[in-house]
């Protein structure tokens, strides 16, 4: 090893450590940075002493050697303290304190000449003789370095600190220990190998700081600092080079003068220019490599967003750009749905909008961003009281996504999505440059994602039924045509579904309830079918399903399960909202090879289901076709009519039985029927409606068949529970009548004859004009007849008293206009009271 390099090594080491100290002191102070700074200062003292010692500067080699020894003695214990801070070990304070005390003793020994007794430099080579404490110091130093090593390894083994984060520090430490051991060999000890290994160690630590940021040093090294450092290094190199070349020349020529020195300096400047460029290039590579990549990523993404309107492709490109630029382990994208909820959006699977991972508007993370705040980290979620209301399940979801940072995707003040990034693949912390890239990508993506969503939305609306969210009629035909044309399936089935008595349902419960029922049916059908089945709202209360790859009995089983699902979902409903469906199914290609044929046949099967008593599933067969061709509609209707007639007689008989059972004066139902017909006619109802009211009057109390006789016959006031039981007779009436198609029209009147004009009646508590007119008529005449009739619990009122009572309750219990008409009718003698 040449004398020149013996000076150069400590000088480089000194420069490296000085640079590191500048960075460390410019960073946030905490235990770790302070202990690291101590170690670096020790190394600076060591390398400085070593450098100056070899230059023969006064007061002399032995003085600088003792300065060197201050650093040499302080370094192991300072490094040990640094590793303790790094691994957060608090149980080794005794060893640390002992280290400092013994270091103090060694320092005293140093100045007492017990470590180096003599030292001098000859031809730039350093010669020394050791004192009695030198070997103690060497063993002591190696001991503390080994302790540092054991401490780090122990923490890695017990998983307290990841190996990846400390591996460079460990390598460096091994080098330092080897360097220290070499000092024990006098032949090698005269060379600064130990300081060289320490310099490499310093560089390893600096790299660890840069890569893993475990010291939490703000390593957004400014370009200015970086260039200052490299200029410092280069100047040092330049001076050393001039110094070295000058000496070589001096040795060769025996002399040097100013001219030769200047020429030499110019030549060296030219020679060093490539080295300068090389160093600048590497600084850019090390510190600004990301920036170069980031520009490329941004350019690529800009090109993509200008050419794509498909949401899937766009989000894929967006996420891909983030993956390239930031290298997160995981990345998740939540996008706002129509219902203002934010669903996890996954392009890779069929069910893109994940239904399990949804953030509602009151979700604390959504609220955080809606209140105008920016990025969020998982640490903040854990720490801030704002997130105390997070559900355990929501916390688990965030953990499952390995959440590290959460970024809002906003357009102006609107939150259109949320991006969740996990830790980086290498475990590093995201740099400021990476965050800048992320924000740029997010800002660029926001508007295009929203546009793509709007485009998708428009596409979706064009093929979807707004109410049920099923596909619409037009799209059904498009898809069916496509399936047949492209022969997508060898076999498939088509089911036509019609909701039974839906008009009546609408009349009874109103159109809003009808819409809700259709929504519910759609959901039930969706749940009862397979993912690959294609469901559409075909018309008002009609639905259609394409069942791919099934036919025959399998298709029958499929529709039967749909029918049963609808039946049971409404049956379990406590209110009497009866809804069933009739389904017909036909198969391709056996029942038809064109869309028209197969639809017609499914429709025919559905009609068979309707005419066979509804709430049925029918598989199309040739037999059905025959049924239709031979038995024409008239004949079928005739048959139905005779069945209904038989039912009708039975119902009237039942009504009479009820009159008897209720201990009413015989003929209450007939009286109500006749009064109601008169009132309805006088109120201007068409004759057809008058008939409905008349029949409703006859049957209005038919449900009392299901009420225990002890309640019907009770002479005292009914208890709360008894009254509740009594109220059920309305629902029972409907349950009986709904099975007789020709009587269905009376249901609205019967269902509402105990409703009150002020909304305090039952069963539904509807008020005013919302109560069907027929029901309002029945309500008045039913009450009137009840008042003028002897009841088990009271005597009959006089007609005048009953009329007065009607007047009193007009506007509250009864429709005032109809009450007035009824009273007029009575006064005109149109109401014959028996």
């Amino acid at each position: 090893m040449g004398a020149f390099s013996l000076i150069l090594i400590p000088l480089i080491s000194f420069l490296c450590y000085s640079v590191i100290l500048i960075i460390v002191l410019g960073s946030r102070k905490n235990k770790i940075t302070l202990s690291y700074a101590l170690y670096v200062i020790a190394m600076i003292v060591w390398s400085f002493g070593s450098f100056i010692m070899r230059t023969n500067l006064p007061p002399g080699t032995i003085f600088w050697n003792r300065i060197l020894c201050i650093g040499l003695i302080s370094m192991p214990v300072a490094f040990y303290q640094f590793t303790l801070s790094l691994t957060q070990s608090t149980n080794q304070r005794g060893k640390l304190y002992f280290g400092y005390i013994s270091a103090g003793i060694l320092l005293i020994s140093n100045f007492a000449g017990l470590i180096t007794t003599d030292a001098y430099t000859q031809n730039n080579v350093f010669y020394y003789s050791l004192g009695p404490m030198a070997s103690v110091m060497a063993i002591w130093s190696i001991g503390y370095l080994l302790l540092s090593f054991i401490n780090i390894v122990g923490n890695v083994k017990s998983n307290k600190i990841p190996y990846a984060r400390v591996k460079y520090i460990l390598f460096g430490l091994i080098l330092v220990i080897i360097g220290g051991l070499l000092n024990l060999l006098p032949s090698l000890g005269k060379y600064p190998l130990d300081i060289a290994s320490n310099t490499i160690n310093a560089l390893f630590i600096a790299y660890s700081i840069y890569k893993y940021r475990f010291l939490e040093i703000k390593l957004v090294v400014k370009r200015g600092i970086a260039y200052s450092i490299y200029t410092l290094l280069l100047t040092g190199l330049y001076i050393i080079a001039i110094f070295g070349v000058q000496q070589i020349l001096s040795n060769l020529m025996g002399y040097t003068n100013m001219t030769t020195t200047l020429v030499m300096a110019c030549l060296l400047a030219i020679v060093l220019q490539p080295i300068k460029n090389w160093m600048q290039h590497w600084i850019d590579r090390i510190f600004y490599k990301e920036n170069l990549n980031h520009q490329e990523i941004l350019r690529d993404f800009s090109q993509v967003i200008n050419n794509i309107l498909n949401l899937d492709e766009l989000t894929d490109s967006f996420l891909d750009a983030i993956r390239r630029g930031l290298q997160p382990q995981n990345i998740s994208l939540y996008l706002r749905q129509r219902n203002d909820k934010y669903n996890l959006y996954r392009t890779s699977i069929q069910e893109k909008w994940c239904q399990e991972n949804v953030y509602s508007k009151d979700h604390p993370i959504v609220q955080w961003f809606l209140q105008g705040r920016t990025m969020l980290t998982i640490e903040e979620i854990d720490r801030l009281p704002f997130f105390t209301g997070l559900w355990s399940e929501e916390k688990k979801q965030l953990n499952m996504l390995d959440t590290e940072i959460i970024v809002p995707i906003k357009i102006r003040e609107q939150l259109i999505g949320i991006l969740i990034l996990s830790e980086k693949k290498g475990g590093e912390v995201y740099s400021q440059e990476e965050m800048n890239l992320l924000m740029t990508l997010v800002n660029n993506a926001a508007i295009v994602i929203e546009n793509a969503k709007m485009y998708e939305e428009a596409k979706y609306q064009a093929i979807t039924d707004g109410l049920t969210k099923l596909y619409n009629h037009r799209h059904f035909h498009e898809v069916l045509g496509q399936i047949i044309q492209e022969k997508s399936y060898e076999v498939f089935s088509i089911a036509m579904i019609d909701v039974d008595m839906f008009k009546l349902y609408n009349d009874l419960y109103g159109h809003s309830a009808g819409d809700k029922a259709l929504e519910k049916i759609a959901k039930v059908i969706k749940k009862a079918t397979r993912k690959e089945d294609f469901i559409a709202r075909y018309g008002g209360e009609e639905f259609a399903i394409i069942f791919p790859n099934i036919e025959g009995i399998e298709s029958y089983k499929a529709i039967e399960s749909v029918r049963k699902a609808v039946e049971s979902s409404f049956l379990s409903n406590e209110s009497n909202e009866f809804i069933t469906i009739s389904i017909g199914v036909a198969n391709y290609p056996s029942d038809g090879e064109t869309a028209e044929d197969i639809l017609e046949r499914a429709d025919a099967a559905m009609y068979v289901a309707k005419r066979s008593g509804r709430n049925q599933s029918i598989l199309y067969s040739k037999k059905d076709e025959v049924y239709y061709s031979i038995n024409n509609h008239k004949e079928a209707e005739k048959m139905q009519s005779s069945i209904q007639s038989a039912y009708f007689s039975a119902i009237y008989a039942l009504a009479a039985t009820i009159d008897a059972k209720d201990h009413y004066t015989y003929g209450h139902s007939e009286s109500v029927s006749s009064y109601a017909a008169a009132l309805a006619r006088a109120a201007g109802l068409a004759e057809e409606k008058v008939d409905v009211v008349k029949n409703a009057g006859l049957l209005h109390d038919i449900g009392k068949i299901g009420i225990p006789e002890n309640i019907l016959a009770k002479t005292s006031v009914l208890s709360f529970e008894e009254y509740e039981t009594m109220k059920r007779h309305v629902d029972i009436s409907v349950s009986i009548i709904k099975h007789i198609p020709s009587l269905i029209k009376v249901i609205p009147a019967i269902m509402s004859h105990h409703e009150r004009y002020d909304g305090k009646g039952y069963p539904r508590g509807i008020k005013g004009e919302n109560i069907p007119l027929e029901g309002r008529c029945l309500s008045i005449v039913d009450a009137f007849d009840a008042m003028i009739t002897d009841r088990p619990y009271r005597k009959a009122l006089s007609v005048e008293d009953a009329i007065a009572e009607l007047k009193k309750c007009s506007g509250t219990q009864f429709d005032p206009r109809l009450t007035e008409i009824f009273i007029s009718l009575y006064k005109e003698g149109e109401i014959n009271v028996a």
């Binding site: 608090t90 854990d382 105390t388 209301g389 559900w391 355990s392």
Partner: protein, 525 residues
């Protein structure tokens, strides 16, 4: 996520304060937002399990706070006994990790069990750490709690709730428990405190958590020991202890002053629990040189509220329970009239200076829904302006009037006293019992009328005391652990109760009648 110890090592004190004590910075609206959100989570969990369906009704799943209070009835432990006492885990909203036990005085069984899920333990731990931090703080954001603090843990081990905290805390921070938790589990309550203080003598102590009455007792014993001939077994293990010992020597032998525990230890924080804590605070401060922080909780309800450095009252944790309050008069009426269903108020509806019975719904998959805890709290103020806490400040008053809780040791019910008097064979006609304070310490005062007037008060007292010890071992502990005599007896002449009834038209209530009624009864004699 970093735990507390890692944060302490990195000196992230602001972040620690925000994570654990940040709830003190929220306002009432934010408190309610948290309450509503976590209630909805709990309803979701309840609606999926047998217990929830039993309590709320099948298919019932309220979507608002109002709907929840309108549809779900108030409950007591009887409503849960069959599921919880049989440890029917499948019927619960979430899987329990621990079953926490307590005695059920006056109940249908001897014990009550409460399940604690993983999330509940996390919340409980967080709340406990918050209280510890507050116990070591003098002002907002500043605290002395550190890793490896010496912790004198004078509370019952698992399966009692007080034993749960060390297990949750061990994932967050290491303390040096005196004695260690494992060792403590094999020691009786008395031994544990004794061993703990012996260790504290040699090692010093930074933190204390225990019953306030115990801490006072130790202080009193210490003073007695210091005055007497017996020397404290002090060991010098570090320089700090040596300097303390010199100071103590000077104070005792030169200044001739009484030595208090505070002369020996610099306790960073004292955390106290138990009924009557407020009455012991001054004494604790006198002996130990540190005002204790009161923590309020219970087996079924976990850690409900904590006192802060301000000392003006306790603040509820927003994320442990959904809180409802029954005004005291409605609560009393419901005790008298079982058919009366009282209405509840929410925390944003309570008023200062009013007392309420607490009703909770456990969050995070807990079992209890609209549960009547049996505790009475008083709202002291709606905020603490001086310390910038914008949440109601409360005080734990006592158990509801039909239970007499003495210093957190025992809960004496009507049946406890009836049983004791029964087996005492004393010829007692009538009696009433109430809790009174003497020199700021709680006592049980029984007023009785005997058919035989020959008995002396002191004899009767001795007999009743002996039999109360027989029927209630916790009552016995008051004497054995605190060295206190908690019983007072007043013998009334024959006819006193009858006279009182004639005068008032109704019998005086047996447990905790009002002071006026008692005065009136005494006047009738």
């Amino acid at each position: 996520m970093k735990n507390l110890e890692e944060m302490l090592k990195k000196q992230e004190y602001d972040r620690i304060w925000e994570r654990y004590c940040g709830f003190l910075d929220i306002n009432l609206n934010e408190f309610m937002v948290i309450q509503e959100r976590l209630l909805m989570e709990q309803i979701e969990l309840l609606s999926r399990c047998e217990l929830g369906q039993k309590i709320m009704g099948k298919g019932v799943k309220p979507t608002t706070i109002k709907e929840f209070r309108d549809t779900v009835p108030l409950t007591t432990y009887e409503d849960y006994a069959d599921i919880l006492l049989n440890k029917n885990e499948k019927a619960l909203p979430s899987k329990p990790l621990y079953w926490i036990k307590t005695t059920w005085k006056g109940g249908t069984h001897d014990i009550k069990l409460a399940p604690y899920s993983e999330s509940m333990i996390e919340e409980h731990t967080k709340a406990f750490i918050a209280s510890l931090i507050l116990a070591t703080s003098k002002k907002r954001g500043e605290f002395l709690l550190r890793e490896n603090d010496k912790f004198l843990y004078g509370m019952a081990p698992l399966p009692y709730l007080t034993g749960l905290a060390p297990y949750g805390v061990e994932n967050e921070i290491s303390f040096e428990y005196l004695p260690s938790i494992k060792e403590a589990e094999h020691l009786s309550f008395e031994e544990r405190n004794k061993v703990g203080f012996e260790l504290a003598m040699s090692k010093g102590v930074d933190l204390f958590f225990g019953l306030s009455s115990i801490l006072v007792k130790i202080g009193e014993d210490f003073v007695r020991g210091a005055k007497g001939s017996s020397k404290h077994n002090l060991k010098i293990t570090n320089i700090k202890m040596l300097s303390k010992l010199i100071k103590v020597y000077i104070k005792r032998n030169i200044k001739k002053e009484t030595i208090l525990p505070k002369d020996l230890w610099n306790i960073k924080g004292i955390l106290c629990a138990g009924t009557d804590t407020h009455t012991f605070k001054e004494k604790i401060e006198y002996y130990w040189g540190k005002r204790p922080i009161e923590i309020y909780g219970g087996t079924e309800i976990a850690t409900v509220a904590t006192e802060t450095w301000g000392g003006s009252g306790l603040t509820f944790f927003p994320d442990v329970n959904f809180l409802e309050f029954i005004p005291e008069k409605d609560s009393m009426r419901s005790i008298r009239d079982k058919s009366y269903v009282p209405k509840t108020l929410l925390i944003n509806e309570i008023k200062p200076k009013e007392r309420y019975e607490l009703v909770i719904t456990k969050f995070r998959g807990g079992a209890f829904v609209r549960y009547r805890v049996g505790d009475v709290i008083e709202c002291l103020s709606l905020d603490n302006e001086a310390y910038e806490i914008n949440l109601p400040q409360i005080r734990f008053v006592d158990r509801i009037s039909n239970v007499i809780d003495l210093a957190g040791f025992t809960r004496i019910t009507k049946s406890t006293i009836e049983k004791a008097l029964d087996i005492s064979m004393l010829p007692i006609n009538e009696w009433i019992a109430c809790k009174q304070y003497e020199d700021k310490e709680p006592v049980l005062h029984i007023y009785m009328e005997m058919s035989d007037q020959e008995y002396k008060n002191s004899n009767v007292k001795a007999i009743v005391h002996e039999h109360l010890q027989v029927v209630d071992s916790d009552y016995k502990d008051i004497e054995s652990l605190l060295g206190k005599d908690p019983l007072r007896i007043t013998l009334l002449p024959i006819g006193a109760f009858n006279k009182h009834m004639q005068k008032n038209g109704s019998k005086i209530i047996k447990m905790n009648p009002s002071k006026d009624s008692i005065d009136e009864l005494v006047k009738c004699s």
